[in-house]
């Protein structure tokens, strides 16, 4: 059962031959690499990867199959995957089908047989590039044209696409409710909010501040999501209105949106942070957390106004990993405290959020 030949063409004209996998359709998007050695199912279903072709650096992908429990969204969100080997034989007590079949059934395509290390080194040198995968059009010139025609990630509002379109209750039965502004939220964030003792209601990313406040929520979670935060103007405006009126906790894209809402700026990193081994220093405790990261944009610390402090730094490149605006009862982290996949070192902000909501209520009572 040989797979059809496929070609990955980058917008700079570099190409990688391989074979078509999954649904074996054309796939395109920004090519990013992820250095996690496990967790491919979580990564492929993470809405933050919307519009991106994920290049897995670990050579065996699919080795433990797929199961219904490890999804971060009901279906894959990444635009496609690039890997060295997609393992048909797989082994795990929870596995129900091979990754290849799972991809095919859910309509996701990709390319295997790629020298993913060579591709990663190329991206490291040249920054993230758009790419186009096809198994029907193997003509390099034609593919290059298609790759070049793809829009740049900068300025693209993908969060709108990744968001739910109607609000829904994820968890109930707890005295306090967190309203989640959904820019492409991962399921495990919702799960961890519930575990922290909250009822959880998820709202479309463009929901107005008034609606949120009127819903009776006790706190707002600005979710993760794909792409550039700058074009998310509606959300930024919403957050500006919410600031100070309700406690806010932002993750990843939500963190960037919070930073923009308090008056800060963001910029694009040369090739982003994507992996499950990034060290982050919590400047309050001095502790190092090994974190999951998935972001191409970053908050500029110089741009933050007075009263907003940087609480976390990346221990490798010293970029901003978390901010706090205590006077506004808002904080956020750039990395993924929910992990999935990745180490669970950084999960404590969910409990901090609960404390923050408590403090906010104390103050409101006293005020």
């Amino acid at each position: 059962m040989a797979r059809p030949a496929a070609l990955l063409m980058l917008a700079d004209g570099t190409s990688f031959p391989g074979e078509a996998i999954g649904a074996a359709q054309d796939a395109w998007g920004e090519v990013v690499f992820n250095t996690s050695m496990s967790g491919y199912q979580e990564i492929l279903t993470d809405p933050s990867y919307m519009g991106q072709l994920v290049n897995f650096t670990f050579p065996h992908i699919g080795n433990y199959g797929t199961n219904p429990d490890d999804n971060e969204a009901p279906e894959p969100k990444a635009a496609g995957l690039i890997c060295t080997e997609l393992d048909e034989p797989h082994s795990h007590w929870r596995s129900q089908k091979s990754l290849d079949r799972w991809l095919a059934e859910l309509g996701v395509s990709g390319i295997a047989g790629v020298d993913t290390r060579a591709l990663t080194l190329h991206l490291r040198k040249h920054g993230c590039l758009n790419g186009y995968i096809s198994s029907t059009d193997l003509d390099p010139a034609s593919l290059l044209e298609k790759a070049r025609a793809l829009p740049s990630m900068s300025g693209l509002n993908l969060a709108d696409q990744a968001s739910c379109h109607e609000d829904y209750q994820f968890a109930s039965g707890h005295p306090k409710t967190v309203a989640v502004l959904d820019f492409g939220v991962k399921r495990s964030i919702l799960t961890l909010l519930e575990k922290a003792g909250f009822s959880v209601r998820v709202w479309p990313g463009n929901t107005s501040a008034e609606t949120i406040l009127e819903s009776g929520a006790h706190g707002v979670m600005l979710s993760n999501g794909p792409g550039d935060p700058a074009p998310c103007t509606t959300a930024i405006e919403t957050v500006k209105k919410l600031l100070g009126r309700i406690p806010i906790f932002g993750i990843c894209l939500g963190h960037q949106i919070l930073a923009l809402a308090v008056g800060g700026k963001t910029y694009k990193l040369p090739f982003g942070h994507r992996g499950a081994n990034h060290p982050v220093r919590d400047e309050i405790t001095g502790r190092i957390l090994v974190t999951t990261q998935n972001h191409g944009f970053c908050v500029d610390p110089e741009s933050l106004p007075e009263g907003v402090s940087v609480t976390h730094h990346n221990a490798n490149d010293q970029t901003v990993e978390g901010i706090s605006a205590p006077h506004l009862f808002a904080f956020s982290v750039q990395h993924h405290p929910e992990a999935s996949p990745g180490p669970h070192d950084a999960r404590y902000p969910f409990n901090q959020f609960r404390e923050l909501i408590g403090q906010f209520e104390e103050r409101s009572k006293n005020a």
């Binding site: 670990f58 290390r117 081994n277 669970h344």
Partner: protein
């Protein structure tokens, strides 16, 4: 937190002699610790009794104590040196146990010395199984049900309420010594006896068995602030039931979903915190049920380990270096990742390749011992391979074992070997099970069936099945390329080659498969030539700790055929001339840390001399494979194919084959034929020394005597030669390592019985038969020669009788029973031989001295096992100098060795592994079986001898009975030492002749019957506990057999037994001045004498 400023002088504990379960991985971690301490400006006091190590090179620490690692001796060193702290987490179980003893003895408190890295409480919590269990259950984690039992009855009661099988683990032992598994009461009884005997506290843990569960290890490193990172997860290919040291292991973990892996990680870190490890590296083993995912904690080691060495090499993360700095007070985020120089050490490496470690065994050396793997570690070495997929790494690791398997191939029975039925070989894990899987696949066993039988995860078996299935297409795809009307090589052909090469098939494996399929006269060279014509070469990729996310600065490479042919990452490098050093591959008995020492010394010397150095080795335990020991490291199997590919990439000025033992030597002629520039003594001259006819002629021409003998190609010829020269004869297969299958043969019947074994060990189908020189004393000489001048580094006198392999014999520098004239003749012979063999570099010559006659036994123009011992004993760094000589520096420009006796003596003693091989015949013979060595240094020979005995762990008695059985030839020398023994209060027991000699000289002595005599005999006397020490010198056959019985019985009981009067004299001298052995001095003191 930066470094603790009060830590200025640190005592680092090594791990002592190499034993199974504690090998040169601790030289690697200790050496890295030394370098890290020095980098931090600390003064280093090093204690390690093992002279073969890199770490005991006097240049690596300020004060180097090669002294017995006993609490008394080390306490003396502490009193003398007054270090600020003792660092015990780099010397394996030996150092941890020693640290516990030191703490209990009060000397640490007395001298105000701290334990850093792990303190007493931590060690106790991790090592005491009951305490550990409570801690684990307290964390809500699962450990298999168990009890600590001090008797069979207790164990039986525990099992009564549960089910067999149960596992028996003695408390406070390393590598699972004395451990085992019992399937019924009878086996339980046996296992309890063994386990209780092995445990120093006479306690064993009896535990429910998790047989068949997956075994997973995590390497965790933690700092004082509580930051912890998991450096690497390792998955065992073999399931629970095979000791992890004996299992093929794989990194990273392949068959766990992220959710479970992260839970495992959380648990690992929780355990490290609960045990209270403040700083450093530790290792935690888990079992995972393959059907339910249920996890159980097996054990944790609060120190660096064999696995952490593997994890360091697998990921590029220098665990020992970082752990050292953490022990000094640093936090993880304050330390830089020295590979990327951008990221900090507080991260978890990500790899973009697969790593496979395969263990190497030496069961052949222990006939009688069952080659079955279990809870007690049996492997003597390991090899590691990296590939861009599991199959490539797996096949590379198998060919890297150097056991004649070119990859995942079948292993047919060797001549004279009787294999059990296949099903049995699959069910009972043995040293070659991986190869039997291939046989099973050919015979139609399916993956599920094999998984059921072996407990190996189907994912691994599926991968192996892919190799097997691909192999089936090889003939049809590659075969036509070798036909007379083969097409011109082109790009299409390259695709065909890559198809197979990406699965890790070696050229020789391809040649084997093609010839099996009917292609005539196929060989590896033909395959390679055609492959290269098609332009198919491997690319070399960097090990960078980060899967390409950051730029890597430390050039550590592995080869792969996967991916773009132009994606190689080897940088152009400096303009300095390149020299490549070939390492020794996996350790085995006869080729271990001593050769790694030589390789590392060569690399250091050549780098200092301005060369660009390139190290090639496949052994993850070694110092040579530390990523910055040479300018470049290639982690590759040591085969002609792999080395040629590196040479093609690097185009070195020269390749050094003299340092890595037999492995590179065996490749040297083929490498040279392929155009590789070998520096030093030419392969032709190296092999001339092995060519019996030519060498005999050469020796005779120089006027050097050799024992009479000849070379035989069949048993009749062998018997004829033996008849001519007279029995006993020494039989030696050609080209073997460590005297493999060498034997003293007493009569024709024995020669005929032994012939098959000898032949199977011989590489060219011939066996040397020489007259055995009875009552001779053997000696080893190491020398250096530049082609014009010869410098003798040392002459070593063996303390064991002649006929014991030089690697198993205690020996001393300086010789003490030879006349000045004999020594002069030995020097002259050595000089003549070195020049005649055109030696450029090291040469080792062995002689036997019988009466006044000196016989040449063998000469080998290469690094010998004794080189590090000589270097440590004399202070003359001959391995370093040899590297310079090989690359063209004349001896006249190098420092000279100290002349003559420097006023002290050095004695090397060996460590035998018989306790690991129940059922094996216990004897010292012509075949080497020891795994490690120690050195004793003192002013007098006797003191040095006693120190060496204590360092080797021999229990030297101060009172009790001494058994004497002395051959006639030695009796005259017996009386004096025997008199002293009596004066010391010992009671003498002797066999008839010996007794007569003693009583005639007025010494009281009790008679003991020989084995042939009536009972009670020798053995009864020993087993009654009357004997605490034995001296048995032999001459002739009958007494030899008795000698063997005595040694076997004594080894079993830990009673020291000596085979020469010299040893007895030395021992008596040591006993007379008991206490003097605690007088300690560093190497640095001796050299300035």
């Amino acid at each position: 937190m930066p470094k603790d400023p009060t830590l200025k002088k640190i005592m680092l504990l090594g791990s002592g002699p190499i034993i199974i379960g504690q090998a040169c991985e601790f030289d690697y971690s200790g050496t890295q610790a030394c370098r890290a301490l020095r980098e931090e400006g600390c003064q280093i006091v090093l204690v390690n009794s093992n002279p073969a190590t890199v770490m005991t090179d006097p240049s690596l620490s300020d004060r180097t104590y090669v002294e017995p690692m006993t609490p008394d001796v080390v306490a003396e060193i502490i009193r003398k040196e007054r270090p600020d702290a003792v660092l015990p987490t780099f010397g394996g179980q030996t150092a941890l146990n020693l640290a516990m003893d030191l703490a209990k003895s009060g000397v640490l408190e007395e001298c105000g010395v701290r334990l850093i890295g792990a303190d007493v409480d931590v060690i106790e919590r991790a090592e005491d199984r009951e305490v550990f269990r409570k801690l684990i259950t307290g964390l809500g984690l699962y450990m298999a049900g168990s009890i600590t039992a001090a008797s069979f009855e207790e164990a039986a009661e525990f099992v009564g309420s549960r089910q067999f099988p149960v596992v028996i683990r003695p408390s406070f032992t390393l590598g699972g010594t004395g451990g085992g598994i019992a399937f019924n009461m009878e086996e339980l009884k046996e296992a309890m006896e063994r386990g209780l005997a092995a445990s120093p506290v006479h306690e064993v843990l009896v535990e429910e068995s998790l047989l068949g569960w997956k075994e997973i290890e995590l390497e965790v490193i933690r700092d004082r602030a509580g930051n912890a990172v998991v450096v690497c997860g390792i998955e065992n290919f073999d399931p629970m039931g095979v000791h992890t040291g004996d299992s093929i292991t794989v990194a990273p973990i392949q068959t766990m979903a992220d959710v479970e892996y992260q839970e495992l990680r959380n648990e690992g870190i929780a355990i490290v915190n609960a045990v209270g490890v403040e700083t450093g590296g530790c290792n935690i083993q888990f079992a995972v049920c393959p059907k339910t995912g249920k996890r159980a904690v097996i054990e944790m080691n609060p120190r660096v380990s064999r696995s952490s060495a593997l994890a360091s090499k697998a990921t590029g993360f220098p665990i020992a270096r970082i752990a050292t700095k953490l022990a000094l007070g640093y936090h993880l985020d304050e330390l830089q990742n020295s590979i990327t120089r951008q990221s900090c050490a507080a991260f978890e490496p990500s790899v973009d390749y697969c790593v496979v470690k395969a263990p190497r065994f030496d069961f052949e050396k222990f006939p009688g011992a069952k080659p079955i793997l279990g809870f007690q570690m049996k492997s003597v070495g390991e090899t590691m391979a990296l590939g861009r997929n599991f199959r490539e790494a797996f096949q590379k690791s198998l060919r890297g074992l150097e056991i004649g398997q070119s990859g995942f191939t079948e292993r047919p029975a060797r001549p004279g070997e009787k294999l059990p039925p296949l099903d049995e070989r699959l069910r009972d894990p043995g040293p070659y099970r991986a190869f039997y899987l291939k046989e099973a696949m050919r015979k139609g066993y399916g993956v599920d069936q094999l998984s059921e039988m072996t407990g190996i995860d189907p994912w691994f078996l599926d991968q192996l099945n892919i190799i097997h299935q691909e192999e089936k297409h090889m003939g049809e795809v590659l075969g036509p390329l070798f036909s007379d009307n083969a097409p011109q090589p082109g790009p299409a052909e390259a695709v065909q080659w890559r198809r197979f090469k990406t699965h890790g098939f070696s050229d020789s494996q391809i040649a084997y498969v093609l010839s099996r399929e009917g292609l005539e006269s196929m060989d590896e060279d033909k395959v390679r030539r055609r492959r290269l014509l098609a332009g198919v070469k491997p690319t070399f990729r960097a090990v960078d700790t980060c899967a390409g996310e950051f730029e890597a600065y430390t050039p550590y490479f592995y080869s792969t055929y996967q991916g773009s042919p132009d994606a190689g990452e080897v940088p152009a490098g400096s303009s300095a001339k390149k020299i490549m050093i070939l390492g020794g591959g996996p350790n085995r008995i006869g080729q271990g840390v001593e050769f790694d020492y030589c390789c590392v010394q060569a690399a250091m010397a050549l780098r200092e001399a301005g060369w660009q150095t390139i190290m090639v080795n496949s052994n993850p335990e070694t110092v040579s494979t530390d990523f910055d020991m040479a300018d470049r490291l290639y982690f590759e199997p040591l085969t002609v194919e792999d080395i040629l590919a590196i040479c093609e990439e690097e185009k070195p000025y020269g390749v050094l084959v003299q340092c890595g033992g037999q492995t590179p030597l065996n490749l040297s002629r083929r490498l040279k034929a392929a155009g590789v520039p070998i520096v030093g003594t030419s392969p032709e001259d190296i092999f001339l020394a092995e060519d019996r006819g030519a060498f005999n002629k050469l020796a005779a021409g120089l006027g050097i005597k050799q024992p009479q003998g000849g070379q035989a190609g069949n048993v009749e010829a062998a018997c004829r030669i033996a008849q001519e020269v007279g029995y006993p004869v020494m039989a030696r297969p050609d080209f073997v390592l460590g005297g493999r299958a060498m034997k003293i043969v007493n009569d024709e019947a024995e020669l005929r019985r032994y012939w098959d074994e000898a032949l199977s060990a011989s590489s060219d189908g011939t066996v040397f038969i020489d007259r055995f020189l009875e009552d001779a004393v053997e000696m080893d000489v190491d020398a250096l020669c530049d082609g014009e001048e010869v410098v003798v580094a040392a002459i070593m006198e063996h303390v064991e009788q002649a006929g014991v392999h030089s690697g198993d014999s205690a020996c001393s520098i300086y010789p003490h029973t030879f006349t000045a004239d004999q020594i002069e003749r030995i020097r002259r012979h050595t000089t003549d031989l070195a020049l005649a063999l055109n030696t450029r570099g090291l040469i080792n010559v062995q002689y036997a001295v019988q009466g006044d006659d000196i016989y040449l036994l063998e000469a080998n123009p290469r690094a010998s096992r004794t080189v590090p011992f000589v270097a440590k004993a004399t202070g003359w760094p001959l391995a370093r100098l040899a590297a310079l000589v090989m690359t063209g520096t004349p001896l006249s420009k190098l420092p000279k060795p100290p002349l003559g006796n420097r006023g002290y003596n050095a004695v090397k003693e060996v460590k035998m592994p018989f306790d690991r091989f129940p059922g094996a015949r216990i004897e010292l013979g012509a075949e080497m079986r020891s795994t490690g060595e120690v050195m004793g240094l003192a002013v007098s020979f006797g003191q040095a001898f006693i120190k060496a005995q204590l360092a080797a762990g021999h229990k030297i008695p101060r009172e009790g009975g001494v058994l004497l059985s002395i051959c006639d030839h030695d009796k005259s020398r017996l009386v004096e030492p025997a008199r002293k023994l009596v004066a010391l209060g010992f009671k003498l027991y002797a066999t008839q002749g010996t007794r007569r000699c003693l009583t005639e000289n007025g010494l009281p002595c009790e008679l003991v019957n020989k084995m042939a005599g009536s009972r009670p005999n020798l053995i009864d006397c020993i087993s009654d506990g009357k004997i605490q020490l034995a001296v048995n010198t032999i001459s002739g056959q009958g007494s030899a057999r008795d000698g063997m019985v005595i040694r076997a019985e004594n080894l079993k009981r830990g009673i020291p037994t000596y085979t020469t009067i010299s040893a007895l004299e030395a021992l008596v001298e040591g006993l007379q001045r008991w206490g003097m052995q605690n007088k300690v001095a560093a190497l640095q003191d001796f050299y300035t004498v």
